[in-house]
Amino acid sequence: MPTGAVIEFTSISKRFGGVAAVNDLSFTVEPGRVTGFLGPNGAGKTTSLRILLGLVNASSGTATFGGVRYRDLPHPLATVGAALEAASFHPGRTARSHLGVYAIAAGLPRTRVLEVLAQVGLAAHASQRVGGYSLGMRQRLGLAYALLGDPGVLVLDEPINGLDPEGIRWIRGFLRDMAAEGRTVLVSSHLLSEVQQSVDDVIIIARGQLVHLGPLSSLDTDAAPQTIVDSPDREALAAALTAAGISFSIGRTGLLAATGDPARLGHLAFEAGVELSVLHRQKAGLEDSFLTLVGGGHSL
């Protein structure tokens, strides 16, 4: 069973012209876990991954697998499997000959080609020209390329894009299985909801900079707690809140009070003699935390 290596970004920066696409990015990705690499479109995810894979030269900093740069790996495809967003196929080649070319280049046994095609569910389409593939099939073929060398590290850029619901369910299980086998799995996405069922850890970047790093549960914070409260006599309730110095806004289902303490609101209402019809704590979701971190998610 291949074992994963630690992916390490150390102060990676990349400037295109005068624009910083990635700025001083440092983090590590551990084996045996699925790590989500998240950020809005244009945050620098793909550039970071291409730097990691030696396809793009960093302006400064290093990115390594177990301390070794990609271009110095003695057996790159057998160490790291990568599926990048762009469809990188000659449309006139069949899936089988497409993978065959790179199996030859990497010195891998030709039997791997049909094995990985079966693994991603493309065995029946192995002899079909890739030009006729649907987006979902191309995603699977990209994944098959990543698996060709049975690598200990998987780097997947937006692997869920274009998959049908059945494919999404399949890839979630697939990612979990890969990590359970001890591999390092790094998956990028611009939607937390797309990967939140699969990932253990999250690395969030926005505008080329790291904004959050930690286990998925670390996103489950309540930075700005709110409680929804309402009354048949909304004006009296509003007056009571104002008197107690609690700021609020008017929401669809009642007043959104800026406190995480429903008991205190209940007590206030009781003292003011205001009848309550609604009182519950509004819990910020993971997605909300994510959107707050990446700056309101304007580019989503």
Partner: protein
């Protein structure tokens, strides 16, 4: 070394798993076959008197074309050379166009090695195109000559040297195609340059250069002229017999190799080693 050999066989697989190579090979065979066969019939007919010299307008000039077989056989390279150039340029620019540089460089991160392997592969496949072109020019052209009773010189060692040098020329032309492909990665631009240069610009330059002794010497270093010097015969020399002495065959070969290397090295710097996004 083992990695380089793997790269070469991967490059072979790339060429032979798409349709381009055999489409070009078929067109090459038909084109050269038609030209060599047709002109062999015309020239041999005139030379043997089957076609009256009065029936063709030779401008009052000589109807002595020298030894016909080398002239006819050299159509393989003097006209067919555009095909290996196209193959090399398309094989290289296709990597940019279809973004297959990504899986290629992931499998082999040492990019110089990949470009070297591609060049070696295309030299061999280009020589294969030479075989196809010679099958047309020697096979069909020689057959027509024999039919007119002209000695096709198939047992002549000079003929076989010409064949060998044609294979070398066609291989080098494919390498020049690779160099052009990395120099101008845009596929459409590359094709336009190949066609415009080989079919129009260079023939005109060679003609213009031949008017003065000094420019004629420079004109000998044009790639097409160098190729004809390498092969040792060309209809273009026939059209222009007063041109200064061409390069020696080995000089012509070195000039072609030089074009291939210079374009590849510059192309490596301007496109091949750049970021793959």
């Amino acid at each position: 070394m083992i990695i380089f050999l793997r790269c070469v066989s991967a490059e072979f697989a790339k060429i032979f798993t798409t349709r381009l190579w055999w489409i070009l090979a078929i067109v090459l065979f038909c084109y050269i076959g038609l030209l060599a066969g047709g002109l062999a019939a015309l020239f041999a007919g005139i030379q043997t008197g089957v076609i009256s010299p009065d029936a063709v307008n030779t401008g009052g000039g000589s109807t002595d074309f020298g030894s016909l077989p080398p002239l006819i056989y050299s159509f393989a390279s003097s006209v067919g050379y555009v095909f290996p150039v196209l193959l090399g340029a398309l094989a290289t620019t296709g990597e940019f166009r279809h973004q297959t540089l990504t899986p290629t460089f992931l499998a082999t991160p040492r990019r110089g090695l990949v470009l070297g392997a591609k060049t070696v592969t295309l030299i061999l496949v280009g020589a294969g195109f030479g075989v196809v072109a010679l099958a047309a020019s020697v096979g069909l052209g020689g057959g027509v000559l024999s039919a007119f009773g002209v000695n096709a010189l198939l047992l002549d060692s000079e003929t076989w040297l010409l064949v060998a040098r044609t294979l070398l020329a066609m291989g080098l032309w494919a390498a020049i195609g690779v160099g052009l492909g990395v120099l101008v990665p845009n596929q459409v631009a590359s094709i336009v340059i190949v066609l415009a240069f080989t079919q129009f610009v260079e023939p005109l330059l060679r003609l213009a250069a031949s008017f003065l002794e000094i420019t004629a010497k420079i004109g000998n270093f044009l790639p097409g002229a160098a190729s004809d010097a390498l092969v040792g015969s060309s209809f273009l020399n026939l059209a222009n017999p007063s041109a200064s002495a061409p390069l020696d065959w080995w000089q012509g070969g070195l000039v072609l190799l030089g074009y291939a290397l210079v374009t590849a090295v510059i192309g490596y710097a301007v496109s091949w080693k750049k970021d793959v996004t």
